[in-house]
């Protein structure tokens, strides 16, 4: 069977150091940092501290008027990447997608909603339209006409490195020929106030690996790579800039914000990337370090480097002094720096470094210099101990990346927290008085599973995820466990309380314990800490198809033999702002009620499973075209699922007439293909409407498959374009 090796054929970048690859490399070559003081928003306490802010007018650079600041940054980087790859997506059919990492998504814009509410007592929901982390994905997919698998992934500072790794997996597994992969993150009051509240910001600008380093500098930006399968790129005569030779991910399973002091998780991710690339450590010619400049991160990373490379650590540098730490976008920014370094055969320097730290005992590159480079490594480590490492190789090097092997997947356990009863929740002032009927999970009685002091800092969403994860399987310390628990909106209550507090108290008395819960991987990481799960740890976020993305990602970990067990799931919580904004938009009515809940399923290879509850025989992801064509959709589903085994279609229909008509049309088109009437069932009447609802659908599908002894198709459409289908067999 042909192996689809991923190669890079185009790149785009926007950062505080410049707009476009040329301008950014000129800044790097000249050693010119993009750090200046903050102008984007008022910061009473920290306004004079250096930050990597993009000061150009984004509209002037050609960004669309629609979208959040992150969306616009992502769009600008995507435009450059597409132009440099000289690719026409009309030639790709449904086989091109987009995969982006972000940490805050549209938070900067949604903060204006809270500011108006707090300071002027007015409810203006408009700025929250592009709040979701998946918004940039939708915008770019629509702009370039991409109909393949697409999602965002939000694992804090490793987000876009993990996104690039996932995109490579999409290509290797044959799901797509071309992927736009990277990340976008804008500055926000939340992260600005948050990192200051953690005392992790260096007031003089970051000095990675330096003896006197005192923290990071925040930044913002976006970078996008065009990833293609090698045969597709060669066939269309594209210029190949580099190979993506290897990638690896791991979790420290240690602490919500602090890295493991020995860097064991970081070392495991580097090891995994080397394994995937089939390279020895000695083959690596340069490392772009995560190197944030905090005392703990740099020391832990140096320890990890020594673990892997012993006393022969290759030349390395942190380039964060040029851009600031662009959080979810930094992995992608550093990936394009690595590819450009390979292309130019030059080593980028480490601004801010002056004096060697005896505790580290390593000295980074201090000035740009030429060097023969064949293989380079890029490290990204995030909150929660979520680590991702990429290896890029010169195009002339032979392709050796290990390919995945198809696996039969069994579900051997399931944890569900669904709504108990329909509760009426009063919306508290200052929102307009009113009542919304919700599908709430009520008081988490299972919270008794967690001891009170363990629970005190956990959000409702984390508690739900933790309880379902514990229930889903019997822990076996000898197993390698990967975790993919997605969320549409994350820990809303903690993020909301944190920003509300910053705005109302002008950055005084912040809430450092709430800030770490503002990242979407807060639940997945907490599960890993609780269970000691040190495999890949991911938090995909893709609106209504979030769960299916997590499912796909978990199966990948089994197919590449990076895990013995994958815990996959999704979780979302209700909060007052979500209820209020939804009410303002008329999203809720008698039939459509907001919901919340968590589901975690435990997956193993079928041949190794003793007690299989169900099998997952297909997962396919994509985007639908407009106008919606039910026949085309039925073809797409039939290409992934053998209809002769299917008895029931379980859809995400919810009582919203336009969407429900689409589901019904596809169900009847599938019936005519199957030559018999397939039963069409729905589940949202039980759980309510929320982004993780299809995870609840998955648990219903398992029940139906077992009860009716037939295959069940779980089919989900997201209003902004995503679609997913999976097949569950008894």
């Amino acid at each position: 069977m042909a192996v689809h090796f991923p190669v890079i054929t185009g790149m785009g970048i926007i950062s505080a150091a410049g707009f476009g690859m040329e301008e950014n490399w000129r800044a790097i070559a000249a050693g010119r940092s993009g750090l200046k003081h903050l102008t984007l928003f008022q910061s009473p306490r920290y306004g004079q501290i250096p930050v990597g802010e993009i000061r150009q007018d984004l509209a002037g650079l050609g960004a669309p008027s629609r979208g959040s600041r992150s969306d616009k940054l992502g769009w600008l980087a995507a435009r450059e990447a597409v132009a440099s790859a000289k690719i026409n997506f009309q030639d790709c059919g449904d086989r091109s997608g987009v995969l982006l990492g972000t940490s805050v998504g549209g938070s900067f814009d949604s903060e204006q909603f809270l500011e108006t509410l707090i300071k002027r007592g007015k409810m203006r929901a408009r700025p929250t339209r592009f709040h979701e982390c998946s918004s940039t994905v939708d915008l770019i997919a629509d702009e370039f006409g991409l109909f393949g698998p697409s999602t965002a992934v939000a694992t804090a500072c490793s987000s876009s490195a993990l996104a690039i790794a996932m995109a490579a997996e999409m290509i290797m597994s044959g799901e797509a020929d071309v992927m736009l992969a990277g990340g976008a993150d804008s500055l926000s009051r939340m992260t600005w106030g948050g990192f200051h509240s953690l005392l992790l910001v260096d007031s003089e600008g970051c000095r990675p690996f330096d003896m006197n380093r005192a923290g990071m500098s925040l930044g913002e930006g976006a970078a996008i790579l065009i990833l293609e399968s090698e045969e597709f790129a060669r066939k269309r005569g594209a210029k190949i800039l580099a190979r993506l030779a290897g990638w690896g991910a791991s979790c420290d399973a240690h602490h919500a914000t602090a890295p493991h002091p020995q860097g064991t998780g970081a070392a495991a991710a580097m090891q995994a990337a080397l394994r995937r690339a089939a390279l020895e450590p000695s083959a690596i010619d340069y490392i772009n370090a995560h190197g944030t400049g905090t005392r703990d991160n740099d020391l832990a990373e140096a320890n990890a480097l020594k673990t892997i490379f012993k006393n022969r650590v290759p030349p390395f540098s942190s380039t964060k002094g040029f851009f600031g730490h662009a959080l979810g976008a930094s992995g992608a920014i550093e990936a394009v720096v690595c590819v450009e370094a390979l292309r130019r055969q030059e080593l980028p320097p480490n601004p801010g470094f002056e004096k060697i730290d005896p505790a580290i005992g390593l000295e980074p590159i201090t000035t740009l210099r030429p060097a023969p480079l064949a293989h380079v490594m890029s490290n990204s480590f995030g909150f929660g101990g979520n680590n991702a490492v990429l290896i890029f190789s010169k195009p002339e090097t032979p392709a050796r990346t290990r390919a995945p092997h198809p696996v039969e997947v069994a579900v051997d356990g399931l944890g569900v927290i669904g709504p108990g009863a329909v509760a009426v929740q009063e919306i508290r002032p200052p929102l307009p008085p009113g009542k919304v009927s919700v599908h709430s999970c009520g008081v988490l009685s299972d919270a008794a599973l967690l001891n009170p002091n363990q629970r005190r800092r956990l959000s409702r969403l984390q508690q739900m995820a933790l309880i379902t994860a514990r229930r889903s399987h019997a822990s076996d310390p000898s197993q390698r466990v990967a975790v993919a628990i997605g969320t549409g909106l994350g820990c809303l209550e903690d993020a909301g309380a944190f920003i509300e507090n910053l705005i109302s108290k002008d950055e005084r008395e912040p809430m450092p314990a709430r800030f770490p819960n503002s990242v979407h991987n807060a639940a997945a990481a907490q599960v890993a800490i609780d269970l000691g799960a040190r495999g890949m740890n991911s938090a995909p976020t893709a609106a209504e198809i979030t769960f299916e993305i997590a499912l796909w990602q978990g199966i990948c970990q089994l197919a590449t033999d990076e895990a013995d067990r994958a815990l996959v799931g999704a979780a979302d919580e209700l909060d007052k702002y979500l209820l209020g904004i939804g009410q303002r938009w008329g999203a809720w009515n008698e039939k459509i009620k907001p919901g919340e809940g968590a589901v975690v399923a435990s997956l193993s290879r079928a041949e190794k499973t003793v007690a299989s509850l169900a099998r997952v025989t297909a997962v396919k992801l994509g985007r639908y075209r407009r106008p919606f064509d039910a026949e085309r959709e039925a073809d797409w589903i039939a290409s992934a699922v053998d209809l002769k085994d299917v008895g029931v279609i379980l859809s995400g229909a919810k009582g919203f007439p336009i969407m429900d008509a689409l589901y019904e049309a596809v169900a009847s088109a599938l019936s005519s293909r199957a030559g018999r009437k397939l039963e069409h069932q729905t589940y949202k009447q039980h759980c309510g409407e929320f982004h993780s609802a299809s995870a609840f659908g998955f648990s219903v599908a398992m029940g139906l498959a077992r009860q009716k002894k037939c295959g069940v198709l779980l089919y989900t459409l997201a209003p902004r374009g995503g679609k997913a289908v999976c097949c569950i067999q008894p």
């Binding site: 914000t257 002091n453 800092r457």
Partner: protein
């Protein structure tokens, strides 16, 4: 200036949202971090916020606070010395 140990303990409990713990249960000299109360680095940051809010002491580098965070007694001594008069 002396500060009330009980008041300080109550402030700690409230700031850190400690559950099932009353001021009487906290020993003046027991370690706050690691063993004892078993606090971690995020709790230390909450204590930094508490010091500023309740006692007007601003800490910009966590290393400054570290000697003070040994026990309730060391914290009380630190506050007595650093508190703006």
């Amino acid at each position: 200036m002396n500060i009330s140990m009980n008041e300080l303990k109550a402030n700690i409990i409230e700031s850190l949202r400690l559950q099932d713990i009353t001021p009487e249960k906290i020993d003046d000299d027991a370690p706050l971090f690691g063993t004892g109360l078993g606090l971690d680095s995020i709790d230390a940051l909450e204590l930094v916020v508490m010091l500023e809010r309740d006692y007007g002491i601003v800490i910009k580098d966590i290393a400054e606070g570290r000697p003070a965070f040994q026990s309730v007694r060391t914290l009380a001594d630190f506050i007595a010395v650093k508190r703006p008069k």
